[in-house]
Symmetry: C2
Subunit: 228 residues, 2 copies
């Protein structure tokens, strides 16, 4: 946990330090991060660093909270999903958020991914039901709602499904980017997000069809199939 002096800093100085830390940690993780690089790149004295943090590990923990914060900010910046959005529309939105995050904040996403592999199984226990909750709880909550709304097949193990969906959300983005390669349209100016590229959306459609076919109670794609 950063010391209070860190929070007393001006926003710009704090941002410079955080920026340098992100740069360093995204390269090869905590263990091989070099403090000298961080202080050099942020333009502060090494002694100052120790006024703000106990050590590198302390800074790393702070960066991990930053990752979550920036992701939350991203969610807030995009329009809230329509309340009448159904389970699978919302699921698509959740996964797409992760992809957009990786495209907009590749360094933070890298840090998050590494952390994910080092601690792939994060879970908590629901205090009311005593039920296991995998991941950060977003997918678990969604699937639980999906069950209540009769949108999900009853035989699906929701906690495992939540884990797998979290897995996909975390690591599908680099595939999509690589898959469409330089065929991405209208990205030269960088103003249009690659996540909204038609080719990526087509891949997304396919992915969501597979997921829906996999866990929905009454998947549209199967109805289409059976009706043919």
């Amino acid at each position: 946990m950063p010391k209070t002096t860190f929070y007393n800093l001006s926003a710009t100085r704090r941002a410079r330090i955080e920026e340098a830390a992100i740069d360093e940690f995204c390269k090869n993780g905590l263990r091989s991060a070099v403090l000298n690089n961080i202080v050099a790149n942020s333009g502060i004295a090494k002694g100052s660093f120790y006024q703000y943090f106990e050590n590198l590990e302390d800074l790393y923990a702070h960066v991990l909270t930053l990752v979550q914060k920036r992701k939350t900010d991203l969610v807030a910046s995009l329009e809230t999903p329509n309340s009448i959005m159904d389970t699978f529309g919302y699921l698509r939105w959740l996964i797409q958020i992760s992809v957009v995050f990786m495209l907009r904040e590749p360094r933070l996403a890298k840090i998050e991914q590494r952390d994910f592999v080092d601690h792939p199984v994060i879970n908590s226990i629901d205090p009311e039901t005593g039920e296991r909750i995998s991941g950060d709880g977003r997918f678990h909550a969604l699937l639980t709602q999906g069950v209540l709304h009769d949108d999900l097949a009853t035989w699906v193990d929701t906690d495992m499904a939540a884990y797998v969906l979290n897995l996909i959300a975390n690591l599908i983005a680099p595939y999509m980017v690589d898959r469409i390669g330089d065929k991405a349209s209208s990205l030269a100016d960088g103003s249009v997000d690659i996540a909204y590229d038609p080719l990526v959306q087509a891949l997304f459609d396919n992915l969501m069809d597979i997921i829906e076919a996999g866990i929905a109670r009454d998947p549209q794609i199967r109805k289409d199939f059976y009706s043919k």
Copy 2:
């Protein structure tokens, strides 16, 4: 690439070095591995190390090939899947292999996972068809066969599906182990593989049902559902 002197070594000496290298690399990856630990733990002189390898990176590359080799050995050691096994039986077998590998060789699996996150998108091009092949090709080949045998839904993007299945195979094991926790049966002596624990198999059944429902042309679970 190791120098020829390394291959001239006795098998036991070579094994000692590889063992120490695996121990070191599985902890925190290449960048933070410490050569002194490896030479100390393998009981060789530091000077000797440089007779065998150019540097740490060279050794790391060798360990990565070791990972693949041991995985291949594991596949060979388990009975070959029945030739009449169908697409999804074979798919289950493929995923299960990855889980067994992680349970039997956790250090190698850890190294592989880290490598996977650092280079999540590995792909090659089929020389005949010019088609893209994601991952190590096993899942891609299986799905391609599945399409030919009419076992897969035609609308499924096979390369993306191969990527996702590879993802699941690589990272589902820690979930399953944590999920069943200490409820694992008859494992005290370590003679029975946790992968064959009934609880794990039940989870596997569920996972495979989801996957089959997701990508099969005519999923059994859906037929069951519709027949009810």
